[in-house]
């Protein structure tokens, strides 16, 4: 018996494709021409990897407990993020969309995969695939129902399609029964999908937080 496991080493099992070769060639040229350093790419990947939905959840929970912060977040998402130390690495703005009793927001990028990566990290696969991208703007109620979210007819559904300069984040409604919870406890309730707008934030009384 020996302590290490036998997970096979991941190795490329087929020849690289056209785009993989092109990416490698362009990257090597940029490094050779000293436009960028190899370390910069690694560093940026580290930056990307450090962004997760916990950042978005922190913003949402802070907005729920701090009305002044909520105002600033809704007025200018980017500067409100910078205020709490979340920097932006793309030349984009952040618009935060508040769900209310009367409006339910849903975000999509029909052209590609624009996503508030600074505060949510990488998008889920379904967000980048054609079925969600085409159907979210055409039959949002059916898409939401497939996520288990049924929105009453008297609530307006507002689908925001990111096209170029703006990224969106949904500020979900604070669930009932959470009045005495701390900001940290609230943040633990907020999921990635709630900030895309496909589900509400759920709170079950009696559940250990």
């Amino acid at each position: 018996m020996h302590p290490h496991d036998h997970t096979p080493v991941v190795a490329a099992d087929e020849a690289p494709g056209y785009y993989e070769i092109m990416e490698t060639a362009v990257r090597e040229l940029l490094v050779a021409k000293q436009v960028i350093a190899a370390g910069e790419i690694r560093r940026h990947l580290e930056v990307l990897d450090s962004r997760t939905p916990q950042l978005g959840a922190k913003l949402v929970a802070k907005a729920w407990v701090d009305p002044e912060f909520k105002k600033r977040l809704l007025a200018n998402g980017r500067t409100a993020c910078e205020e709490v130390g979340i920097s932006f690495y793309e030349n984009t703005e952040l618009t935060v969309l508040e769900n209310t009793e009367k409006v339910h927001n849903l975000i999509v990028c029909t052209l590609c995969s624009c996503y508030p990566r600074e505060v949510l990290g990488l998008p889920p696969d379904w967000y980048k695939l054609t079925p969600y991208r085409s159907r979210a703007v055409k039959e949002p109620r059916a898409v939401l129902a497939e996520f288990g979210t049924v929105i009453p007819d008297n609530v307006e559904i507002r689908v925001s399609d990111s096209t170029a300069m703006i990224r969106y984040l949904v500020l979900p409604r604070r669930p009932d029964g959470t009045e005495k919870m701390t900001e940290e406890q609230l943040a633990a309730l907020v999921t990635r999908d709630a900030m895309i707008g496909v589900v509400p934030v759920e709170f079950q009384k009696g559940r250990v937080q």
């Binding site: 703007v137 055409k138 559904i157 925001s160 399609d161 096209t163 300069m165 703006i166």
Partner: protein, 105 residues
Amino acid sequence: MIAGLVKDEGDDPRFHAGDKVGISVRFPVGHYRVPHYIRGKKALVEEVVATPAIDNEAEGFGRNVGLKRHYYRVSIPLSELWPGYAGSPHDGLRIEVYENWLEGI
């Protein structure tokens, strides 16, 4: 406004919140960020987005025309986009469009 100061073309936004606009029907070559499904549809200007954006269509051909294109958030009812839309008549789309894709109606 300072008296005597002459503004350049494109300094001021052409449309304002509440204006009815049409989305152009054009099919230029190159990179642009206007999905097909909104072309030819009627929209309402909701907001002039504060930062005018670089015209990425011109930039794609190496012509960086600077921060000249105003950029607008518009709303379009889903029933305008999709005839026979089954959901609530209040359901709508919000999308940002460059000024050169908007037409006064």
